[in-house]
Subunit: 282 residues, 2 copies
DNA sequence: AGCAGCGATACCGCACGGGTATCGACGGCC
DNA sequence: GGCCGTCGATACCCGTGCGGTATCGCTGCT
């Protein structure tokens, strides 16, 4: 199977609409239709069920969508990593580190500082990601290493080392009734009438239903909290970077969050290994 | 990048010879040369250093070879798994389990037996592999689940659960001087003059240098041992399947071997989950 | 010097990918 | 209920690009 065919299929499977998929791919609809039926014929498998009004995935199609995405990521990763290896061989080596925007900033600062002091250290580019974005960057080769947060992020398929485990706190607007408390339970936060939990976009860009405001970034959310429109649950270490118009209260029964450093399996680059070793010594 | 280009590159990178690579790919040499230079031009990276007498990999080429192999495996896996999902949807579901030929046979028998007794169990096809072959089968989708043996097999990139940890024994021909011993040290086995360690083929089919006989299969090796031409180091559980012309002596300082059950990340198939659960209950 | 081995280049033909035009089927609507 | 709009499939055409053969150019060996 060619990656072109796979890209076409993934587009159609995601859009469930040949016209829109063709548009997204920058091509006309008929060749796309033909390419998909060719793919089905060659594989000997029906991937899409087309009634004249709608397109749905078969079982096999759902599997190919999932596996195909990771396969495309792997191809992309091969390409990127080879190009970056060429740069490195030309003396312009660098490490790309992906981390969730606004999380673990203290740990990250310490890590970058400690690594910079290492004898053989090289430039580290930090990529600030939205939630769930880091795994993708790691899988498609745009990042060499990432800070992930269990249990929120998926770590399967990567090598990981644990760096830090901490509890979680509720971040509230200063002056709110709950801020007088010394600790809280999760159940008390489930539906605080005036402070709903924010809604983050799903990978496809749509938002889940709910009462909370839609947010795209951390700074946006912090602003909403200080306006008294939302609350947030975040790891203890977030406390150090809060403005004084925000108050953090420990949550006694929240699941612990473990910050891990993750990298793609079989990554044999010397600088990445140095960085990981430095992180473990913190 | 198209998988066709990647397949071409991997062939050349493995052969380090355009003519042989072209032959292996079933095509003529000139189009292959052209395809590779096109790939290099499009990537903006030199992958191969050609002096007129030899072809060598650049740094970037080495990275692309490694990453490209796993990318090709991922594409192949997507294809296979989709086809198998179609079969499953048609009621002909099955699980392919890969295991090292001659290893863990007792555990495997128990597992198959226990799983067959499960209420929702389906057919399990067992694939007996040469050393190091299972990881490949798991990565390219020809197997759904595998029994691997740490620290010999590479488990990174898979999800794993530990099943059994055991010591190792030396397997010797009956009547050999060492068989009178109740235990042995690894150092004593390093160079027993008349019983060298066998040499297994590398993934590319060639053999490492050394005094031992070249072997391709477990039964071949067992035969060589009973002929007094080799010895073998194997997990304790191998004892149950030895003929009486072979004797196993415990090695006190050999690293422990852990048999794990491994499966590809994000595998969401019900039957595989059942099988794993059964294995953990043994 | 001559030859053999090997990768690169030149040139050619055809298959296939992509485009436009159009069809056919189904749903919605006044 | 007839008409239209939507959407995927089909028919047909064209150009690109892939693969083939022939040949060159370089280099190391004898």
């Amino acid at each position: 199977m060619e990656t072109r065919e796979l890209r076409y299929f993934v587009a159609v499977a995601e859009e469930l609409h040949f016209g829109r998929a063709a548009q997204r791919l920058g091509m006309a609809q008929p060749p796309l239709s033909r390419a998909i039926s060719q793919l089905e014929r060659r594989m000997g498998v029906v991937l899409l069920e087309r009634t004249n009004r709608s397109v749905t995935l078969t079982e096999a199609g759902a599997v190919l969508l999932q596996e195909g995405r990771t396969a495309l990521d792997a191809v992309e990763a091969a390409e990127h990593r080879a190009q970056r290896a060429a740069l490195a061989a030309a003396g312009r080596a660098s490490i790309v580190l992906a981390t969730k925007a606004g999380a673990s900033s203290e740990l990250l600062a310490k890590l970058l500082h400690a690594y910079a002091a290492e004898p053989r250290s090289i430039q580290v580019d930090v990529l600030l990601c939205g939630p769930g974005e880091q795994e993708r960057l790691l899988r498609n080769g745009r990042a060499d290493v990432a800070l992930l947060h269990r249990p929120f992020d998926e770590t399967t398929g990567f090598e990981v080392e644990e760096l830090l485990t901490e509890g979680q706190m509720a971040v509230l607007p200063a002056g709110h009734a709950l801020t007088v408390r010394t600790d809280l339970h999760l159940s008390e936060l489930a539906d605080v009438p005036d402070l709903p939990m924010p809604r983050w976009p799903r990978p496809d860009g749509s938002y889940p239903d709910g009462p909370g405001p839609e947010v795209q970034s951390h700074s946006q959310l912090l602003q909403l909290i200080s306006l008294g429109r939302a609350l947030m649950v975040a790891p203890d270490s977030c406390r150090s970077q809060l403005h004084d118009d925000l108050v953090a209260v420990p949550i006694v029964d929240a699941p612990e969050v473990t910050t891990v450093i993750a990298w793609p399996p079989h990554s044999r680059s010397r600088p990445v290994a140095d960085l990981i070793r430095t992180a473990l010594r913190l």
